[in-house]
C-alpha cells in the first residue's frame, strides 16, 4: 500500500461518537432521544468506516490526514490501512449492537447514571477508532491513554466497594505500564530515529537500533501496551469484570483488549517491521511469553465458577493467540492473528451478551447455577453455544479460519511446540466452555426455582442473536477480512521461512 490519498473521513469517523456526547448530555432528561443519539452516531460512524472500504480495499490506497503538526516530522495524524480498517469495522459495527444491548440491560436493571454511561461509552469508541487509524506511535499512545481514562468511569459504574478496588487495579495496570514502559520506549524510539515515529511497512526502527536496544524496546512496548493482557500484566482484566456487562462485552471483548493486541500488531508490523525482527531474531521471547499465557490462562479459566471471570480468562488466552501469532513472523500466522481480532470479537461478545442476558433475566452469575436454563432461554443459550464454538474454533463458525491460519503459520515458522500450544489450548477452550452448554441444555432445572423464568428483554436477545449469526456468517464469508489483512503484505512479500 504505497499510495495514499488525503481525506478527512477518518477524522469524522473518529469524531462521530465524540460529538455524540453533546446530544447525549443535553438530552439527559429524555432517555429515548438520548439513546436515539447514540444510535444515530453509531450508524454515521459505521457508514463513514464503510465508505472508506472501497478506497482502501478496491484501490489499495491508504487514507491520510494530519490533525496537528508538532515538529516537522512528528504529528498527530491518521492513516487508514488494511489492519486499521479491519479493526475499525469490527469496533464500529459492534458498537451499534452493543448500544441496543446496553439499553436493554441498563433499563432492565434500572441502573443509575445512565447518561454518564452512554457518554463515556461514546468517548471510548472514539478513542478506539483513534487507535485504529493512528499513523504514528505518538497518536497511538495518545488515544491509548484516552481509552484507559474514558473507560474508568464505565468500569467503576456501580460506585461500590468492589468497583472501587476493581477500578483501582484496572487503572494501576493500564496507566502504570503505559507510563512506565511504553512512554520511555516511545521517547527512546524518537531519540534513536531522530524524530520520526511514523509507522512504515518495513518498520521505522529498522536500521536505527542494535540488537540489545531492539530487544529492550520490544519488551517495553509489548508489556507497555498491557491492554493485550499478556502475563504477568493480565490481572486488570478479571478485575474489570465488576463493570456492567455491556461494558465487559464491548470493551473487554472488543475495544480495550483488542486495542492492546492491535497496538502490539502495530509494534511488530509498523515499528520494527517483520523483516527487521526476523533479522534480529528476538521475537521468540514474546512468543514464549504468549504461549505461557495461553496455556496458563486456559487452565485458570477452567477453575473459575463466576461466568464472567471465566470469560475474562478465556479472553486473556485468546489475546495471547494473537500476540503469539504475530510474534511467529510468518505470513499465515500474522494474517491469522489479524483475522482473529474480528473472529474472536464476534464470538466473545456473544458470550458476554449471553452472560449479561442470563444476569438480567435470572440474576445468576455463577456457572453452577445455570442448570437447565437452556430450555427456558433457548435463544440465549443457543447463541452461547455458537459463541463457544467460535472461540474454540469449531465449524461452522468464523473462529475456525483464524485458528486454522494461526496453526498453519506456526507450522510454517517451524515452531512445532508452539503449534501444539495452539492445539492444546483449543482443546482446553472446549473443556471449559462445553460443560456450560451441557449444563444448560441437559441438566434439569432445580426444583421449585424461578417458576416465571423466561427470556431476557428483547433488546438483550436481539443483539446476541445478531452477533451469533455474525459468527456463523464469518465462517462462510471470511474473504473480506482476509483481503484486508492481506493488504498489509502488499508492499512487502510474505515472509516465509
Amino acid at each position: 500500500m504505497e499510495t495514499s490519498v488525503h481525506s478527512w473521513i477518518p477524522l469524522w469517523a473518529c469524531l462521530a461518537s465524540l460529538l455524540a456526547v453533546i446530544p447525549i448530555v443535553v438530552l439527559r432528561k429524555e432517555p429515548f432521544l438520548r439513546e436515539g443519539a447514540t444510535f444515530v452516531a453509531g450508524a454515521v460512524k459505521l457508514v463513514l468506516v464503510l465508505s472508506m472500504l472501497p478506497l482502501v480495499l478496491g484501490k489499495k490506497t491508504a487514507i491520510e490526514c494530519t490533525l496537528f503538526q508538532i515538529t516537522d516530522q512528528l504529528s498527530i495524524s491518521f492513516r487508514v490501512d488494511g489492519l486499521g480498517l479491519l479493526f475499525a469495522l469490527v469496533a464500529s459495527s459492534l458498537w451499534i449492537v452493543t448500544s441496543l444491548y446496553s439499553i436493554g440491560y441498563m433499563r432492565g436493571l434500572n441502573e443509575h447514571s445512565q447518561t454518564r454511561f452512554f457518554a463515556f461509552f461514546a468517548v471510548s469508541l472514539s478513542a478506539t477508532l483513534g487507535v485504529a487509524f493512528s499513523a504514528n506511535l505518538l497518536t497511538l499512545y495518545l488515544f491509548y491513554e484516552m481509552l484507559s481514562l474514558s473507560t474508568y468511569p464505565l468500569v467503576t459504574h456501580h460506585q461500590d466497594k468492589e468497583a472501587r478496588t476493581g477500578g483501582r487495579t484496572y487503572l494501576c495496570y493500564l496507566l502504570g505500564t503505559s507510563i512506565a514502559f511504553a512512554l520511555p520506549a516511545l521517547i527512546f524510539c524518537y531519540a534513536k530515529t531522530g524524530g520520526s515515529l511514523q509507522f512504515a511497512p518495513e518498520g521505522f526502527l529498522a536500521g536505527h537500533v542494535g540488537h540489545v536496544a531492539a530487544l529492550c524496546l520490544l519488551l517495553l512496548l509489548t508489556f507497555g501496551f498491557s491492554k493485550a493482557g499478556l502475563m504477568p500484566f493480565h490481572s486488570w482484566l478479571p478485575a474489570a469484570m465488576v463493570a456492567p456487562t455491556p461494558v465487559s462485552a464491548l470493551l473487554h471483548a472488543v475495544a480495550v483488549v483488542k486495542v492492546g493486541v492491535f497496538c502490539i500488531l502495530r509494534v511488530f508490523t509498523g515499528v520494527f517491521g517483520l523483516e527487521f525482527l526476523k533479522e534480529l531474531d528476538i521475537a521468540s521471547v514474546i512468543s514464549w511469553v504468549a504461549a505461557f499465557t495461553v496455556v496458563v490462562s486456559s487452565l485458570i479459566a477452567m477453575s473459575q465458577d463466576n461466568l464472567k471471570r471465566r470469560l475474562a480468562f478465556s479472553t486473556i488466552g485468546q489475546l495471547s493467540y494473537i500476540v503469539l501469532g504475530v510474534s511467529l513472523l510468518s505470513y499465515h500466522a500474522v494474517a491469522g492473528s489479524m483475522m482473529h481480532i474480528a473472529m474472536h470479537a464476534f464470538g466473545k461478545i456473544t458470550l458476554f451478551f449471553c452472560a449479561g442476558a442470563i444476569f438480567v433475566a435470572t440474576g445468576k452469575k455463577y456457572i453452577s447455577q445455570l442448570n437447565g436454563l437452556g430450555k427456558k432461554m433457548p435463544f440465549t443459550m443457543g447463541a452461547f453455544a455458537i459463541g463457544a464454538m467460535s472461540v474454540t474454533g469449531l465449524p461452522p463458525t468464523g473462529g475456525l479460519w483464524s485458528k486454522f491460519y494461526l496453526i498453519w503459520g506456526a507450522a510454517e515458522a517451524g515452531q512445532i511446540v508452539l503449534m501444539c500450544v495452539y492445539l492444546v489450548s483449543s482443546v482446553l477452550n472446549g473443556v471449559y466452555f462445553f460443560p456450560i452448554v451441557y449444563r444448560a441444555f441437559f441438566k434439569p432445572l432445580p426444583e421449585g426455582e424461578m417458576p416465571g423464568l423466561k427470556e431476557a428483554p428483547t433488546a438483550c436477545v436481539i443483539p446476541l442473536t445478531v452477533t451469533a449469526v455474525g459468527s456463523v456468517l464469518l465462517f462462510f464469508v471470511p474473504g473480506l477480512l482476509l483481503d484486508l489483512a492481506n493488504l498489509m503484505f502488499v508492499s512487502t512479500p510474505p515472509v516465509t521461512p
Binding site: 484516552m146 468511569p153 460506585q159 461500590d160 507510563i179 444476569f359
Partner: protein, 522 residues
C-alpha cells in the same frame, strides 16, 4: 508604542497599583477593574513585543536612553524565551485576577485594596525579573516580588500561615542575599553589571579559572535555588502556599517558582554562558542527581499528605526538580534545556489550574482535606473537570502539555545518558497518577461507597436517587472562578497541542547558543 513595549509590560501593573492606591481609599470597587486593566495592557504589550521579537530577533531596550557604553544604564533584553515567559506571566496573572473576583481566605475581608496593590506589584516584579538584562536590577525586582509575596502569604486567615510567612521571609532573604553576594563577586571580577558584559568578561581566558567567579556562581545558584524551592532548600514552600489565602496562592504557586527557574536559566544562558556552564564547569552530573533526589523526595512526600494544597506544594517541588534537572542535562541537542523552558510554560498553567480548583474546593468546604472531596464529581462537575485536566497534565497524559514537557525532558535524559533522571521522571509520573487517582476516586465514589449487596435485587435507585453526600458548609463557587478554571484548563490543552510551535520559538534563542554544535556560540 511598539518601540516602548518592553517597558510598558513592566510598568503597566505598577501604574495600575499606584492608581489603585489613590482611588482605592475612596472607591474600593475600582481596584479589580484597575487590576484587570493593568494586566490586559501588559498582556497586549507582551504580545506586541513577542511579535516584534519574532520579526526582528532580540529586542533591546535601554532605560533612560543610556545605550553606550554597555551597562551604563539598565537594559531590558527580550528574546523568544523571556518573551514567552512574559506572556505566560501575563496570562496566568490575568486568570488569577479573574479568579480573585472575591478574595477568599484572608484574615481581614476589608483589605481588597491592599490585596490588589500587592497583587499588581507582584506581577510588575515578575515581569521585571523576566525582562531585565541587568544582574543588579534583577535583585531589586526579586525583592519587589518577594516582599509582595511575603505579605500575600501572611494575609491568610489560618494561624499557621503566619509562621509559614515568617519562615518564608527568612529563607527568602537568605536566597536574595546570596544572589546579591554572587552579583557582588561577579562585579568585583568583571566590573560589569549588565549580563552580556559579565558574560564577555567571564569567558575570557584569564578570568575563566577565577575562584571568585566560581564562588559567585555557587552563591547565585544557591540563592536562586532557595527561591525556586529546589529540594533540600524547599522548606519554606509547602506551608507558605498551603496556608496562604486562596486567591494569593493561585498567583504565587504558578508563578514564583517558575519565574525563578527562568532566572536560573537566564543566568546559565546570559550571565555565564552555556559554554562556561557546561564545558568549563561540567557539573551537570551532580546537579542532575540532585534533581533526581528532588523529584523523588517531592513525589514521595506528596504521597503522605492529606491536605490538597500541601500535596500540590510538594508536587511543585518535584516539578522544580524536573526543570532544574532538565536544564542541566547538557545533551547534545539541548533538548533537556529547551524542555525545561517549555515546562516552565506548561507547569505554570498546570499549577494555576490545580490551585484554582483547590481554591474553589476550599471556598466550598472550608477545609483542605482531600477526604472532604467525597462525591465532588456529582456536586461540582465543572470544578472536578478542571482538576481532572490539571491532574492528567501532571501525570502526563496526552494531549495535555504535561505530556509534551515530559516528552522533551525524557528525550534530553536519554540523549545525555542520564538514566537516573529518566527513571525518576517516570516514577514521579506514576506517583502523580496514584495521587490524582486517589483524589478522583474519592471524588467519584464518595467517602462511604454505597454498598450493593447484590445487584440482582438491590437495583433500587434510578438516576434521580443517587446517594447525596452531606452538603458542605462553604459558599458556592463564583462563576468567575469557574471561568478562570476553564481558561487555565483550556490553556493546558492548547499548549499541549501547539507544543511544536512553542519549542520552535524556544529553539530560536537557545539553538544558536548551543555549545555542543559546531557553530561557535555568539
Amino acid at each position: 508604542m511598539a518601540d516602548q513595549s518592553p517597558v510598558i509590560v513592566v510598568v503597566a501593573p505598577l501604574f495600575a497599583a499606584l492608581l489603585a492606591g489613590l482611588i482605592g481609599m475612596r472607591e474600593k470597587r475600582a481596584c479589580l477593574p484597575l487590576t484587570l486593566l493593568g494586566l490586559v495592557v501588559s498582556l497586549s504589550a507582551a504580545i506586541v513585543l513577542f511579535r516584534r521579537v519574532l520579526a526582528e530577533g532580540e529586542v533591546r531596550y535601554f532605560l533612560g536612553g543610556w545605550d553606550k557604553p554597555l551597562g551604563i544604564g539598565i537594559e531590558l533584553r527580550i528574546d523568544t524565551v523571556n518573551g514567552l515567559v512574559l506572556i505566560v506571566i501575563a496570562i496566568v496573572s490575568l486568570i488569577s485576577a479573574i479568579f480573585s473576583f472575591r478574595p477568599h481566605g484572608q484574615r481581614d475581608t476589608e483589605k481588597n485594596m491592599h490585596f490588589y496593590i500587592l497583587f499588581l506589584l507582584l506581577c510588575a516584579g515578575l515581569f521585571g525579573i523576566t525582562a531585565t538584562a541587568d544582574a543588579f536590577n534583577l535583585y531589586v525586582l526579586v525583592e519587589v516580588s518577594s516582599l509582595t509575596s511575603y505579605a500575600l502569604v501572611a494575609m491568610g486567615s489560618l494561624r499557621r500561615g503566619t509562621v509559614a510567612a515568617f519562615n518564608y521571609i527568612i529563607m527568602g532573604t537568605i536566597g536574595a542575599s546570596f544572589y546579591l553576594l554572587g552579583v557582588g563577586y561577579l562585579y568585583m571580577q568583571t566590573g560589569a553589571l549588565n549580563m552580556e558584559g559579565i558574560r564577555v568578561v567571564v569567558n575570557q581566558p584569564d578570568v575563566l579559572a577565577s575562584k571568585a567567579v566560581l564562588v559567585a556562581f555557587v552563591f547565585i545558584l544557591t540563592g536562586v535555588w532557595i527561591k525556586t524551592a529546589f529540594f533540600p532548600l524547599h522548606g519554606w514552600l509547602p506551608n507558605a502556599y498551603a496556608y496562604a489565602p486562596t486567591t494569593s496562592s493561585t498567583l504565587l504557586a504558578p508563578l514564583m517558582t517558575k519565574v525563578f527557574v527562568y532566572v536560573m536559566i537566564r543566568i546559565m544562558l546570559s550571565v555565564f554562558g552555556l559554554v562556561w556552564v557546561f564545558e568549563h564547569l561540567s557539573w551537570s552530573h551532580i546537579v542532575v542527581w540532585l534533581s533526581v533526589i528532588a523529584i523523588l523526595a517531592g513525589s514521595i512526600i506528596a504521597l503522605t499528605q492529606t491536605e490538597l494544597k500541601k500535596m500540590l506544594g510538594f508536587l511543585i517541588i518535584a516539578e522544580v526538580g524536573y526543570m532544574v534537572g532538565g536544564a542541566w542535562l547538557a545533551d547534545e541537542g539541548l533538548w533537556g534545556f529547551k524542555g525545561a523552558i517549555y515546562h516552565i510554560v506548561s507547569d505554570a498553567f498546570m499549577t494555576s489550574c490545580l490551585f484554582i480548583a483547590a481554591g474553589i474546593f476550599y471556598r466550598r468546604h472550608d477545609c483542605h482535606d482531600i477526604a472532604s472531596l467525597d462525591g465532588a464529581f456529582k456536586r461540582m462537575p465543572l470544578t472536578m473537570t478542571g482538576l481532572l485536566v490539571g491532574g492528567l497534565a501532571m501525570i502526563g497524559v496526552p494531549p495535555t502539555c504535561g505530556f509534551f514537557s515530559k516528552w522533551y525532558l525524557i528525550r534530553g535524559g536519554i540523549d545525555s545518558g542520564h538514566w537516573g533522571y529518566v527513571v525518576a521522571l517516570i516514577i514521579s509520573s506514576l506517583v502523580n497518577a496514584v495521587l490524582f487517582f486517589r483524589i478522583f476516586e474519592i471524588a467519584f465514589f464518595g467517602k462511604k461507597p454505597v454498598e450493593h449487596a447484590d445487584h440482582g435485587d438491590s437495583h433500587g435507585h434510578g438516576e434521580e436517587h443517587a446517594p447525596a453526600p452531606a452538603e458542605p458548609t462553604g459558599q458556592a463557587p463564583m462563576p468567575t472562578a469557574l471561568v478562570a478554571l476553564m481558561l487555565s484548563a483550556g490553556f493546558i490543552l492548547l499548549i499541549g497541542i501547539f507544543n511544536g510551535q512553542i519549542m520552535e520559538w524556544i529553539s530560536l534563542t537557545v539553538d544558536p547558543l548551543n555549545p555542543f554544535t559546531k557553530t561557535p556560540p555568539l
